[in-house]
Amino acid sequence: MAAISREEVAHLARLSRLAVTEEELDTFAGQLDVILQAVAQVGEVAAADIPPTSHSVPLTNVLRDDVVVPGLTPQEALSGAPDAEAQRFRVPRILDEDVAS
């Protein structure tokens, strides 16, 4: 059976902010299914008591001193902006409510 449905792929695309086309959905659904079936092999490994590895370097407490260092000028900061106004980054109207931090 398929690991992922066309609907699930459409949902993933929305979550990922990708305006995929109908044709893409068809191709992706098939391709993601192949990939997910293959990567699901990790489930064959008995690893219940194995700790996960998120970092391969054995470092902890890498901290910087609370000292100001020069950053970018506003011109540099905005140099790559697709649209700017009043020294701010301009974006189209926002639908979503802000999400709490």
Binding site: N61, R64, V69, L72, R93, E97, S101
Partner: protein, 499 residues
């Protein structure tokens, strides 16, 4: 809606509220959480940014040691355990004020956990359980243009400034607080007040709700006695201590009206409105995005060793509640008197005034009397009324030295508040000093006697009470700068009458 809301007392008589508070505090570090950009307020848009806090491709975060220590100190002050190993996590969601479209936060491994904070509500101690204290980064500021009053709805476009993006943000989450009954709103307010005082005493943040360096979300649910806790709502945008109280109260009433009507509470985010004092629904949690938390691979784990934590613990200041107890004893105040001092927000001011040499009684008299009155009139915080503890102490010193009487002292205080200088300067500049030299006084008295022969005769014939009229006359000519008692004695003496 037109349905009339039930009365609060009637509601809390039938339902049991459970509250919980989630507080965000901006730390007062020199630099941001993960880069060396300054955190100072104001400043032109996008002038405190770098590749890291702009989330430019290729940039990497490095954690600010001062922010980590501040968070551990807050945790210790809230009686929390400090994790001996924990990681940052990425909270993934798209929003333009978040430069990386994920927030570096902490998920199931908070830096501090399992603590409590005792708060006093009319003399009673309430223990608020602290679930977690963790560290994350703040977002930028979005300006909504077009549409009404800068609101997001109806806006035609938005403008983003990333100066605030990446400022260290400490999140403090309480455990659910049941069993407070009708006091729930007061308890919520008392907790936030106490938390603010604790954090201020640590000196890690200016914790000003108006400026958003302390933000509060309030969770509220209702249940019938003996039943399970109800569905909770999360009220955001609660920006003052008073609002915390009002938000809980209005949400309790709203939920009761829904439940009474046989409806069910939906788990949702609601927004509090200062003007109306009620809440309106925001995003409902059912439709909330899946944040897809995972360990931040660009930052290595934190592992505060015992020695480091012990060092920070040893340096903690006295907790505000205990500090207040000590002051109350030192000042010899009743609980009621201390309460009025607290309500006036005058503890630190009186403390400083006493330290500057005034007696506790005198310091309290000025701050709770004349100055509180002025603060109320002008609608400012007592601390911002315009007089410093040092000036008040100096003023009292002049009174004790007999250079000012009560009336003159108040006049001088006027000048202080008006910013005319130090009490001594104002006294001299305005020539308000008590006339103590009897030569001048005697002259004034003789003048008054000569001007009122009949009254003088009455006094001579023993009608001492009549002296009041002459005293008045003398005070008039000396523009109130004489000491009335001295004047009276002088009159009787000149007229050979016995007092």
């Amino acid at each position: 809606m037109t349905t009339t809301l039930p009365a609060y007392d009637e509601v809390v008589a039938r339902y049991e509220p459970v509250i919980g508070l989630e507080t965000h505090v901006e730390l007062g570090t020199n630099t941001k959480m993960f880069c060396g950009c300054p955190t100072d307020f104001g400043g032109e848009p996008n002038t405190r940014v770098c590749p890291v806090c702009l989330g430019l491709p290729g940039s990497l975060p490095v954690a600010n040691k001062a922010a980590i220590e501040a968070t551990i100190r807050i945790g210790l002050a809230l009686n929390c355990s400090i994790a001996d190993w924990c990681r940052f996590a990425r909270k993934n969601y798209f929003y333009p004020d978040m430069p990386k479209d994920f927030q570096i936060s902490q998920y199931d491994e908070p830096l501090c956990f399992e603590g409590y904070l005792d708060v006093e509500v009319n003399g009673e101690l309430v223990c608020i359980g602290i679930e977690r204290v963790h560290l994350e980064e703040d977002t930028g500021k979005t300006l909504h243009v077009g549409g009404a009053t800068g609101r997001i709805h109806g806006a035609t476009e938005s403008l983003v400034d990333y100066n605030r993006a990446g400022i260290p943000l400490v999140e403090i989450v309480t455990k659910p607080v049941p069993g407070t009954g009708a006091l729930a709103p007061e308890v919520a307010r008392a907790y936030v007040t106490e938390l603010r005082d604790v954090i201020r005493s640590l000196g890690v943040s200016d914790v000003r709700m108006e400026e958003g360096s302390l933000r509060c979300d309030v969770n509220t649910s209702l249940n019938l006695p003996g039943e399970d806790w109800g569905t909770r709502t999360e009220t955001k945008n609660v920006n003052s201590l008073r609002s915390v109280e009002r938000a809980v109260r209005s949400e309790i009433i709203r939920q009761a009206s829904v439940l009474d009507a046989g409806g069910r509470i939906t788990q949702e985010t609601r927004h509090f409105h200062e003007d109306t004092g009620d809440t309106t629904p925001g995003r409902s949690k059912e439709t909330a995005t899946d944040y897809r938390y995972f360990p931040e691979p660009d930052l290595v784990p934190l592992a505060p060793d015992a020695a480091w934590v012990a060092e920070l613990k040893a340096a903690l200041p006295e907790l505000p509640r205990l500090h207040r107890r000590r002051l109350q004893e030192q000042w010899g105040l009743s609980d009621a008197d201390m309460q009025s001092v607290l309500n006036a927000g005058a503890v630190e001011l009186i403390e400083a005034t006493v330290a500057a040499g005034a007696t506790p009684a005198a310091a309290r008299k000025w701050w709770l009397g004349e100055l509180s009155r002025r603060a109320n009139e002008t609608g400012v915080e007592l601390a911002d009324v315009g007089a410093t503890p040092a000036q008040v102490a100096e003023l009292q010193g002049l009174v004790d030295a007999g250079k000012l009487n009560d009336k003159l002292a108040r006049a001088v205080l006027e000048g202080v508040v008006a910013g005319e200088g130090s009490p001594t300067q104002i006294m001299t500049n305005r020539g308000l000093e008590v006339v103590s030299d009897t030569g001048a006084l005697t002259a004034a008295v003789d003048e008054a006697i000569a001007a009122n022969p009949d009254i003088a005769d009455k006094i001579r014939s023993g009608k001492v009470a009549a002296a009041g009229a002459l005293v008045g006359a003398v005070m008039k000519t000396t523009r109130g700068q004489a000491d009335a008692k001295t004047v009276r004695e002088l009159i009787l003496e000149r007229l050979g009458a016995q007092s």
